[in-house]
Amino acid sequence: MEATFATIIAAATPLMFASIGETISEKSGVINLSLEGSLMLSALAGFVIAFETNNTWLGFGAAALVGAAFALIVAFSSITLRLNQVAVGFVLAILGIALSSFLGSSYTGKPGGEIAVPPIDIPVLSDIPFVGGVLFSHNIVVYMSLIVVLVVWAFMYRTRPGLSLQGVGERPDAAHSRGVSVNKHRYAYTVIGGALVGIGGAAFSLDAKLGWSFLHTRNFGWIALAIVIFGGWHPLRVAVGVLLFGLLQWLALDLQEVFPDLTQVLPIMPFVLMILALVLVNADWLREWADKHPRWGNIVRGDAPSAIGTPFSPE
């Protein structure tokens, strides 16, 4: 049991970074749909740079840069050029996949043992029965992913700049009249979110799924986008969504032994179930229930930032 929970948390790390990064970006009003491609290419960049320099952290830096660069293209084309965010994001997703396949072919199957993120047991805390094993016997990247969730949550809901971030995504006109530069904020948060996505990519290739293989992070970019919606654009709920997905993945892996005939099919099931969950979260009856019971309702309901996907021009 202890080992299971620990495994799920460790395996969820890349998706945690990616989903929280996307949450920040979308909260400011910009959908970065390129995740499938940026996650893939940053995973490759992280592995290649770490492999060539023999320095794990340079790999993470390179991956963050790749993620930020993708986000910058999305920001420029949607904020400055007012192009359709979905169009540009989708092209970047496809382009990132193709680029990673092309550039990564010579790194397929290279051993990464020496550049893997080293584990660190947190003294004292890791000795706590159960909790210590689940939460405090991982590595720095896993700890950081959990800290990022808490920091982003606290920033969004407990600080003044966080309030501006929400305002930029919810009511850009009002934010503008309060003197907040809407487009500058959107640029900044999109790029920061993209850098987190990139770190998520490196968390794949240097930790959770060490190494590089063809389509190494396949489908995880898409599922990160779905989890942001599932999580109602709230960092803590997004984190719960990531862990829930991790649990489903673990179950699918475990069930392979029970149903050996379905070995090929089961790994896809978590993705299917996650989308079904999305349908449920959006269902009208749940919304009505949430409206009637605000105390509990606020936990399950989540609305998209009102200005999501729409360019802002101060006039």
Binding site: L83, A87, V88, A98, I229, V272, V279
Partner: protein
């Protein structure tokens, strides 16, 4: 991406804007090929030779063009309705499953079996697309995510069929089902994959979509929904019905593409039966916009690059993904070039002194009356 009657951009400049993304894409690919230590000119020559260099190669390229064109023609319809039909991959797969079902279960002369495979492809694809449509209109699930989910389900379903009920006797492998009997295969010419019937179907699909959008009340209203669903609804257009209609048409054409993939290219059901032509079709439509006719040449270029880059792997050892990089960069820069042009026009308009109040609201939805 909509057609803009070029206000002050001269013909030459418009052509330059069209050609520039193309040059950037070629240059980008060339640099990457140099980076891996190969000669780009030789690589581009091999791409052309590998796609158009012999009768067999040309047939293969045409048989990639057909499903890509069918999917893209369908996507023009959903695109015109303002929908992002990311579920198109799954719709192709379901079309292939529908056709495979007939190919496996029905025996008879080819002129009965082949049309049946195609019809079932259309039906299966359309049903799968309607699921995404219903998720959107009834379940309020954005079609991007409903579609992605259904793509996953379709992949799972194919894998299940191939290793489960439709497994080859004695072999549990994901390499595919038993090859279809001859009478279920799309009639081809000689030893090539070339099937004139498939080409005729693709051309008819383009013309059909073009006519639908240009010449019918349904098409005009559909575009009104695409431009502004709210005002279209207020004008009395039953928006949801049009959205479902667009999904069904696109799914039907994508299903047809899947049926042709199964019975004309792979000759059996394989896990990767869609060939990725759904997502590639979305890129085609990002270039073509609502102009159905443009789908034909753009798909042809994409097919040449896709088929030709496979020979790069065989001859130079370069990963064939370079073809995807080339087309991806092309579409990205085409979008950015269009965005920059609009941006400059906006800036110029802002620089001019404000004109007296005038009604510039687009009256596009007026076709509803």
């Amino acid at each position: 991406m909509t057609v803009r009657s070029g206000e002050d951009a001269s013909g030459v400049r418009k052509a330059a804007i069209g050609i520039l993304p193309f040059l950037i894409a070629i240059l980008f690919a060339a640099v990457l090929i140099l980076l891996v230590g190969e000669n780009p000119i030789e690589a581009f020559r091999l791409i052309l030779k590998g796609s158009l260099g012999s009768t067999n190669k040309i047939s293969d390229t045409i048989m990639v063009w057909v499903p890509l064109t069918l999917a893209a023609a369908g996507l023009v319809v959903t695109f015109s309705a303002g929908l992002w039909n990311i579920g198109v991959e799954g719709q192709i797969v379901l079309g292939a499953i529908g056709a495979s079902f007939i190919a496996r279960e029905v025996s008879g002369p080819w002129y009965i079996v082949v049309p049946l495979t195609l019809i079932f492809g259309v039906i299966f694809g359309a049903i799968w697309a309607l699921l995404a449509g219903v998720l959107k209109t009834k379940g309020k699930v954005n079609e991007i995510f409903g579609g992605l989910g259904l793509d996953f389900v379709a992949t799972g379903l194919t894998l299940y069929l191939i290793i489960g009920p439709w497994a080859r006797p004695g072999i549990a492998s994901t390499s595919g089902t038993e090859p279809f009997p001859d009478e279920a295969l799309l009639p081809n010419i000689g030893n090539t994959r070339f099937s004139p019937l498939a080409v005729i179907i693709a051309i008819l699909a383009i013309l059909g979509v073009w006519l639908l959008l240009r010449g019918t009340r349904f098409g005009l209203k559909l575009q009104a929904v695409g431009r502004n669903p709210k005002s279209a609804y207020l004008m009395g257009i039953p928006t949801n019905r049009y959205i479902l209609g667009a999904f069904a048409i696109c799914g039907g054409l994508a299903g047809l593409a899947g049926a042709i993939q199964a019975t004309g290219f792979h000759l059996k059901l394989v896990p990767s039966v869609s060939g990725g032509y759904g997502f590639l079709g979305i890129l085609v439509v990002l270039l073509a916009g609502s102009r159905a006719i443009w789908v034909a040449p753009i798909s042809a270029f994409f097919a040449i690059v896709a088929v030709g880059s496979i020979s790069l792997t065989l001859r130079l050892g370069i990963d064939s993904a370079i073809g995807g990089v080339l087309t991806g960069v092309l579409v990205l820069f085409a979008l950015i070039a269009a965005g920059l042009r609009d941006y400059r026009q906006r800036k110029r308009a802002e620089a001019r002194p404000p004109e007296p109040e005038q009604d510039t609201a687009p009256n596009d939805a007026g076709v509803a009356s």
